[in-house]
Amino acid sequence: MAFQKLIRERFFPHLWCPGCGHGTVLNGLLHAVDELGLDQSSLCMVSGIGCSARIAGYVDFHTMHTMHGRALACATGLKLARPSLTIFVPMGDGDATAIGGNHFIHACRRNIDLTAIVLNNRIYGMTGGQYSPLSGQGILATTAPYRSIDPAFDVVQLALGAGATFVARTTAFHVKEIGSIIKKAVQHKGMSVVEIFVQCPTYFGRKNKIGDAVQMLEQYRDRTAPLGSKKLEADPSLIARGIFKDEQRPEYCEEYAKIIARAQGKEA
C-alpha cells in the first residue's frame, strides 16, 4: 500500500470528530486511487464547504477547496478547460442537495466526467447540527427542536432522474465496498454519483438518541441490503446498496471536442 504518497501526512491527525465516518470514506478513496495506479499529477479534488470538504486538505492531489455548494460548478470549469484531469468532488448534504442542488442536477444532466461523492450524514455537522435536505421527517436537529417536517431527497433517485450515468450507494460500515465502488466510478466515463451514508455521532446520533458511532454503523449494516439480494426482497423497508446504474452516454468534454473539430473544419 503506497498511501503515504497519496496523502499530506503533516496534516494528520485529521480534524473530524471521534467516530466520524468521513475518515472511512477517505480510506476507501485512497484504496481506489492506489489500486487504479493513476498518475498523481492528473488527480484533482474539488470540494465545497463543511466537514466533507476538508477531505481535500488531506490528499496530495491538486486540491481546490471552494465555496459552499459550488464544488461541481468549479470542477466543471476545471474539467472542460483540461479534460485530461481526473477530478473527485466530495460533497456534504448541503453542498450536493441544498445550496448546490442546481449545480448537482446540471452536472448529472451534462454527463461530464467527474466523480461526485455525496457523504450523507443527514445533518449539517460543521455548523453544529442543523437539519438538511437529507435528514427526513421526524428528525431532531438544532433547527428542528420539534422534529423536522421536511421530507428527504433520495440522492440516488435524484442523480438517476437528472441523468448521471453511474449511480451507486454504500455506507461507512461497508468499507471494502466504498473502495470498489469508487474505483468503478472513476473508471466510468461520465458523471458518477456515489452516495455514502456516513455516521455523525456528534450531532445526528446523539441528538436523535441513535447511540454512538458503533451503533450507528450497526444500523447501516442492519438497515441496508445489496441490490438484488434475497434480504432486500424479503424486507422492502431496507435501503438498497450497490450500483444502480452504469451506462454509457456521450460525455460532455468529448462532445465538446467534436464541436471544436467542427468549428475548425476537421469534422471526424
Binding site: S41, H62, L80, A81, I259
Partner: protein, 398 residues
C-alpha cells in the same frame, strides 16, 4: 476521440483577425479584445444587455481550441471561470446587474485565491430586475464592494467601441499581472452601440501571458509566496506541483490558517497589491484640460454626451474640458485632484445618484465646487441635461 492533454491556455492569441476594419457593437468589440488578449475559456448565463458577448464567444472559442459553456446559473458561470483559470486558461464571464449580484460570492473567492479572470458587467438600470434593456451606471460601488470582506479589485470602463477593445486587452493583462479578477464595467449604450473598430496587428498592443513558476518538480513550490516584485507565479492544475487553493485565509502553501499574523499579512497583501499601485492602474483620457475653468468628469456612455457638450462650447470659446475616467477602481484620486486643481467648477456626469461624484468630492481640495449632472430614468444623459445644470450652477437658471 483523442484526449486534449494540454490546457487551452493561449489558444486565443492567434484568433483575432488583425488589421481589419469592423463595424460592430461594443459587446462584440469586447469579444475581439478578449480574443486578442488570448481568452480561451468563457462560462456564462444569458442576460440582457450582455448576451452578445456569450453568443459571439460561443461561436469563436471552439475554432481556436478554447471552450465555451452556458452554465445553469450566474453563480455556476463565475465558479467555472475560477476552475478553468486554475487549469491554465485565460477565462472570462459576462453579465449584467442581477447576474453581477449573484457572481459576487465567486468574485470574492477569486480575490482571496488570487485567480486571474475577467468579469464583464454591461450595466442596466437597477436595483433588482430594474430596466433590463435600458442604460444606467449604478453598479460602480457594487463593483468595488459587492463581495464581502476587506479586499481590493480593479474596475475598468470605456466609452467607445474602439476603447472597449483596448480596455478589454488591458483587463486581461492586469488580471495576469496582479492575479486578481478585473471587472469591465460597461453600460447598455456602449455595449449595443455600433461604431468602427480597427483591430490592431498582433504585437501592436502588449499582451501579458500567465507567469508560471520556474520551480522544478520535486522542489518546494510556495503558491502563495509573492516574489519581491509582488507577483505570484502560478502552477496550473495538472502540472507538476500539487498544492491547495482555498477561500479560507491561508499560508504560503495555500493551506488554511488562523494564525493572526498570517491572516493580517494576507489581507494587507490582497489590498496593497492593488491600492499601492493605483498610479500604475489609472487609465483616463483628457480633452482641453490645460486652461479649463469648467471641468466635466465622466466615464462610459455618459462621457460621450459630456464630450459632445465640451466640443460644442470650445467652438464658442468657452474654457471647458473633460476628464474621462477609464479606471474607476482603485479610484484615481490623485489624477482627479491634479487635473481639477484649478477648475472653478467640476461637473460629474453619470447615470446614477452620484457614485463617482462622491469619490471626486473626496479627491478634491474643493468639494463645494463639485456638482452632479445625472439621469437615472433609463435614458442616456444628454448634452442638454449637462448644459441645464451648468446654467443653474453659473446662476443663469434653466
Amino acid at each position: 476521440m483523442s484526449q486534449r492533454k494540454s490546457s487551452r491556455a493561449g489558444a486565443g492569441a492567434k484568433a483575432a483577425a488583425a488589421g481589419h476594419i469592423h463595424f460592430v457593437q461594443g459587446n462584440e468589440a469586447c469579444v475581439h479584445g478578449a480574443l486578442y488578449a488570448g481568452v480561451s475559456f468563457f462560462a456564462g448565463y444569458p442576460i440582457t444587455p450582455s448576451t452578445e458577448i456569450a453568443e459571439h464567444l460561443a461561436e469563436r472559442l471552439p475554432g481556436i481550441g478554447g471552450a465555451f459553456i452556458q452554465m445553469e446559473d450566474e453563480i455556476g458561470a463565475m465558479c467555472a471561470v475560477c476552475g478553468a483559470a486554475l487549469a491554465g486558461a485565460k477565462a472570462m464571464t459576462a453579465t449584467s446587474g442581477p447576474g453581477f449580484s449573484l457572481k459576487q460570492e465567486a468574485i470574492g473567492y477569486a480575490c482571496m485565491a488570487e485567480i486571474p479572470c475577467v468579469v464583464v458587467n454591461v450595466q442596466r438600470a437597477g436595483p433588482s430586475t430594474g430596466l433590463p434593456t435600458k442604460v444606467a451606471q449604478g453598479d460602480v460601488n457594487q463593483a468595488r464592494w459587492g463581495t464581502h470582506g476587506d479586499h481590493s479589485i480593479v474596475v475598468l470602463t470605456a466609452s467607445s467601441v474602439q476603447d472597449v477593445f483596448a480596455i478589454t486587452v488591458e483587463a486581461f493583462n492586469i488580471a495576469e499581472i496582479y492575479r486578481t479578477p478585473v471587472i469591465l464595467l460597461f453600460d447598455e449604450v456602449v455595449g449595443h452601440m455600433r461604431e468602427k473598430l480597427i483591430i490592431p496587428a498582433p504585437g501592436e498592443l502588449p499582451v501579458v501571458e500567465r507567469l508560471r513558476t520556474a520551480v522544478k518538480a520535486g522542489v518546494n513550490y510556495h503558491p502563495y509566496l509573492p516574489r519581491e516584485d509582488g507577483r505570484l507565479p502560478i502552477s496550473d492544475f495538472g502540472d507538476v506541483h500539487r498544492y491547495n487553493v482555498t477561500g479560507l485565509f491561508h499560508d504560503i502553501f495555500g493551506f488554511p490558517t488562523e494564525n493572526p499574523e498570517q491572516v493580517s499579512k494576507l489581507v494587507y497583501h490582497l489590498v496593497d497589491k492593488i491600492e499601492n499601485r493605483s498610479h500604475l492602474l489609472a487609465r483616463y483620457k483628457e480633452f482641453y484640460l490645460e486652461d479649463a475653468e469648467h471641468i466635466l468628469v465622466s466615464y462610459g456612455s455618459s462621457a460621450r454626451s459630456a464630450r459632445h457638450l465640451v466640443e460644442g462650447r470650445r467652438r464658442k470659446g468657452d474654457r471647458i474640458g473633460l476628464l474621462e475616467l477609464q479606471t474607476l477602481w482603485p479610484f484615481p484620486a490623485q489624477v482627479v485632484r491634479e487635473k481639477t486643481a484649478h477648475a472653478k467648477n467640476v461637473f460629474v456626469v453619470e447615470m446614477n445618484l452620484g457614485q463617482v461624484m462622491a469619490q471626486v468630492k473626496q479627491a478634491t481640495a474643493h468639494p463645494d465646487r463639485v456638482f452632479l449632472v445625472n439621469r437615472m430614468d433609463g435614458m442616456l444623459v444628454t448634452p442638454t441635461d449637462i448644459g441645464k445644470v451648468m446654467r443653474t450652477v453659473e446662476g443663469r437658471g434653466f
